[in-house]
Symmetry: C2
Subunit: 240 residues, 2 copies
Amino acid sequence: MKRRLLLVSNSTLHGGGYLQHCQQQIQDFFGKNVKRILFVPYALHDRDAYTKTARDKFKTLGYEVDSVHETPDPVDAVRKAEGIFIGGGNTFRLLKALYDSKLVTEIRKRVLEDGIPYMGSSAGTNVSTISINTTNDMPIVYPPTFAAIGLVPFNINPHFLDADPNSKHMGETREQRIVQYHEELDTPCVLGLREGSMLLVEGNKATLLGSTKARLFQRGKQTTEHDPGSDLSFLLTEAQ
Amino acid sequence: MKRRLLLVSNSTLHGGGYLQHCQQQIQDFFGKNVKRILFVPYALHDRDAYTKTARDKFKTLGYEVDSVHETPDPVDAVRKAEGIFIGGGNTFRLLKALYDSKLVTEIRKRVLEDGIPYMGSSAGTNVSTISINTTNDMPIVYPPTFAAIGLVPFNINPHFLDADPNSKHMGETREQRIVQYHEELDTPCVLGLREGSMLLVEGNKATLLGSTKARLFQRGKQTTEHDPGSDLSFLLTEAQ
Ligand SMILES: [Ca+2]
Ligand SMILES: [Ca+2]
């Protein structure tokens, strides 16, 4: 399988600029052969402003950005793309727009069959997985399904957050939410990517990159912690 | 309209017991004529344990609890109920189970036409409003729609949380999430009920009760703060 993915937890790390904490990984990932990257700004309301932010940043890294919302035919734009970046925002809004524009199947095909590189951040990471069942976002619009692009056979929780022992807030902790997901039947693994971490997938090899550990939840099994640099290729086996 | 509702932000307040912070309001609300309350435990996985928690608490307040999951015919149980309490947990799981059991229409009818008292807490408050678009929960299952029971013509955000100025977490604040909701067309008001607060609705009169202020978001208008004791009846006008 040609699949190449860079799945980032968060676009901005506290104290840094947009995509600053992962810019080296972005350059390593897209490399020197990719010149133009197709950007999908659907997760935010102001697509023009969002595209400018992405375009300005990628320019400093040596890449031109075309936004799918600026093209008359988004499906054709995906067909011709050298690489794709889907940015963060609201996951429900993003997934609904991907279905409305008929991009879900086309992106899957381009990435899994043609091997073009796919980068996602936050919501753009959620939609790359099996489903958006483990997004943190508010369900502001109703997508036709929670099933997503399905580039990997598990789910990710971006912005994974450890419980604050001093909190007086009584809403569920992130861990409690994921445990509730695994109370449901036939639910896949959930990789909790803390802010600062990202997953690099090349074919059937998956590696944790970045500065923070990841927490892996498996239905009916013990939860485990994984250091940056860990080989997480076992997650790519469908049986997981 | 006979409607009587007690919509609580949270079941447990930090440092207190289950429903302890609102027990006086519960007794004032159900009064002395109601003897048995029909409980809906669908928001949590372990319905038996959840029912025991609710039953034990309501017993101390002078009420017997029947759980809808212990009856052979949930629709018939709603038809015969003197009062209803829907508890918190996961809002998506709760709404899906309400539709699967064909209870949404029946509860609406009993509350709006027959005037039986309805109490909700957290997820049970979310499902009483127009839609679950402003729940905080993780979308662990896919309900047939986000439209909910519709006992009031606006939305509520329970467990409303002010942004922490010292946080280094980069996920959206609660306020940012609700603002994103209002970027969508034709979206109703959202009443942010902080933990400790609740809304009492009697006919066309709505009053904020409890110990904390509420924050009201209206599309295209200035956000406003409301003290406990405030008359919020204007929210019940459909035009809002
Ligand atoms: Ca988000
Ligand atoms: Ca909840």
